[in-house]
Amino acid sequence: MIQRRDFNRMAALAAASAAAQARAQNAPSAAAASNDGIAWDKAPCRFCGTGCHVRVGVKNGRVVAIEGDQLAEVNKGLLCVKGYHVGLALYGKDRLTQPLLRRNGVLEPISWEEAIETISQKILATPDQFAIYGSGQWTIPEGYAANKFIKGGLGSNHIDPNARLCMASAVTGFLSVYGVDEPAGCYDDLDKCDVLIMWGNNMAEMHPVLFSRVIDRRTRGEKVTLIDIGTRRTRTTDFSDHYLEFRPHSDLAIMNGIAHLLIKKNAFDPKFVEKFCNFRQAPKDPNATPTAPLLGDAMSFDDYKAALEPYTPEHVEKLSGVPAEKIRVLADLFANKDLRITSTWCMGFNQHSRGTNANRLCHGIHLLSGHFGRPGDAPTSLTGQPSACGTAREVGTMCHFLPGGRLILNPEHRKETEKLWNVPEGRISPKIGHHTVLMWEKFCTPADKGGDIQTLWVQVTNPGQSLPNLHKLFKAKAGQPDKFLIVSDVYRTATTELADLVLPSAMWVEKNGMYGNSERRTQQWFRMVKPPGEARDDAWQMIAVARRLHDLGHPGMKDKNGRFLFTFKNDQGEEVPVWEWPRYYDLNVDKVLFEEYRLFSRYKHKDLAPYEEYVKARGLRWPVVQQQDGTWRETKFRFSEFDDPYVKKGAEIQFYHSVTKDDKALIWFAPAEKAAEEPDAEFPFWLCTGRVLEHWHTGSMTRRIPQLHAAMPHSYVEMHPEDAREHGFANGESIVVKTRRGELKLPVWIDGRGHPPRGSLFIPFFDERLMCNDITLGDVDPISKEPDYKKCAATVARATAAL
């Protein structure tokens, strides 16, 4: 018997998909409106990479209600505290509502025409010294438009996203192990695993809805062992069965220790290794070819064994501080093939000056032990941003990528991309652009001293707070009148402080959009409310500048047939001048851009379905492959025969983008090394930075949400009680934290949310009044170019005493 509630839900579901169907064809619909006049529609949450879906309630042109989406597989109706309040992110009092140009040091309102003209003239003046700094919070079509504009239009590759600060090491990890980016597993692994190992990953705080999915299994009576391997106790530790505290930077030693024991005890999986793996190490000559550091040199199993020889549990204990006994416990878990083991990691591995190697070793122990390719057996990276995977990695808005996993350095890939974009051969520059840190360094360096970036356009991110070592990489821009900084954002931020031109943007449900989350799930939503004042879509801004350049005669803005790069036709075949704002929503620009981008997705078997499929679904995990009956099927477990349609029959597991072209993945050896800056007599503390549950990254949205601001109003420094006692600090007292790059005054929180060990400090980075990145080091991983935000040397002092 169908219960009343189920019946209502089914009716609502039918109505919603009918509505979505109607709107996919651009027909207006009011079917989703409920009795109280609130119209409901779906959207992924604006904040983190988990990719929860919310239902957004709109009344009188305003978002008035948010609830968790029961139909979404990711969150099943639940949200975290940020998600419940996501609607308020739109309604901070100081939304930017008109373009602002800095004149005599003051930002003054100008018209959109003037703004577009100013940008176009700046680009025309020095086209090869123009760069775009984008975001993993760009929607997929926005990132695609920006990528096409600069690489296919201007013939320059100076575009990089903030994902460089966040996911770049995971990308190089996946590429160098499997030959193709992004996790093989998905969140279903969390429902199936017997053991969950969180490597420097505070899931309770950063991906709370995912973590609740795991904790929930325990209350159903299932046994799942949680192991927290970290450098400070967090609320994840509170729920864990084992907590392994290691000396910062020594995580590589732990993983080598596990591999050492697996081999020593002959407890690895020789069948799996022989069938599916090759061995790899750092190249003898890293400069031999541009990809040498990424792909490395082959090594034999015996060499691999020999390289691991020194990593005995006792030696690892000495390096990492983790008791040898615990290393043995870990190795025994991996040795047990009956268990399903999932590893997750996030910024602990990635924001690491040996981040690529950390990623490789984690994949390595899973492959070596055969804990791969069954549901619950997976090494899986979690992303921080809602579309770091969808936009930065898949669309390839990075300085060395082309869409769909193609590379700038590969002439074939450039040719294919030029063909798909219908631009003349040779339009795409063969030269890799500047990665994030280099881009900002060059922008902050005077032109006569080699600073070859003059104009920089920032969209959907706040580098003025999130870049490391801000004095060097951002604040040095001040006082250089020839450097022109353009910022598209929704609020004033630390970045707009130094901006010369500020553009007001539409955000989240004020525009159509698509995101791609951590588990390869591509999501879609429609515009539900109008942006405030003159705020406009980021993709429109990019297209409008492209059109202005086209009209000013820039040859790059035309394709091979002399047509504008962003030519859009409606169903009647008429061209729609979408660069005129009133016409922008005459057709669904997102859909057109996505359908064009979709063609790029097949090369690396990251197949995306047509736009309409995403309208109907709460996201689909690629590869999404069409079935005999015409329906589209998502893939949960990549490379596994039972689920991935691209694996050959009988192969069991097939790494079909293998670096070595033999369908095998690579097990890497990488040594444990010292950090770039370690505590010493002058700076005796480790300093780690990170996030808190209540705030989204730099807090530009969440600090304007009263509930979240009230819950976490101020930044702080966490410290061990013994260290505080030794220095005579009382809880809540203002202290000074100093590094070689600067100092910061902030209250100390003893026994707060996190519990760092002795000799260690932690500061969250959300508070723009207390920017911890003034003092971070940010030395980059040599392969991924991702900075390390988790380790530098610091000292503390009383706020009143002279340092």
Partner: protein, 115 residues
């Protein structure tokens, strides 16, 4: 509660009727802070509390009275005998529906006595 309903499922089921009504998007209610005229005590309304889904513990963290709030498997609890009724927990609660109720203090204790 039957054994097949998990804690998370249980929580979802409880919160469903309230989610069905629109969760209003509005400014935070600030009512407490000043010393109350009549003695009060805080009560956590479990059905509104998001501790189990969001690992929230803001009230416990910010409670200014040592020992007045504790956490039991992630859920915040008020120790009524120690609570001074200052209302900070109510002010900082970030749940969509404020989960902290300020009640006039009764002569007897509100915490369940150990069996």
């Amino acid at each position: 509660m039957s054994a097949s309903v998990s804690r998370r499922g249980f929580f979802t089921a409880l919160s469903r009727p309230f989610q069905k009504k629109a969760v209003p998007v509005r400014a935070v209610e600030v009512t407490a802070s000043a010393t109350p005229a009549t003695p009060r005590t805080a009560i956590i309304q479990g059905r509104f509390c998001i501790a189990l889904t969001s690992f929230c513990s803001v009230c416990v963290e910010r409670c200014p009275v040592s020992g007045a709030m504790t956490k039991d498997r992630g859920m915040p609890m008020v120790v009524a005998d120690v609570c001074t009724g200052c209302g900070v927990c109510h002010d900082v609660c970030p749940a969509p529906r404020n989960a902290v109720l300020m009640l006039p203090r009764r002569p007897t204790t509100l915490t369940p006595q150990p069996a």
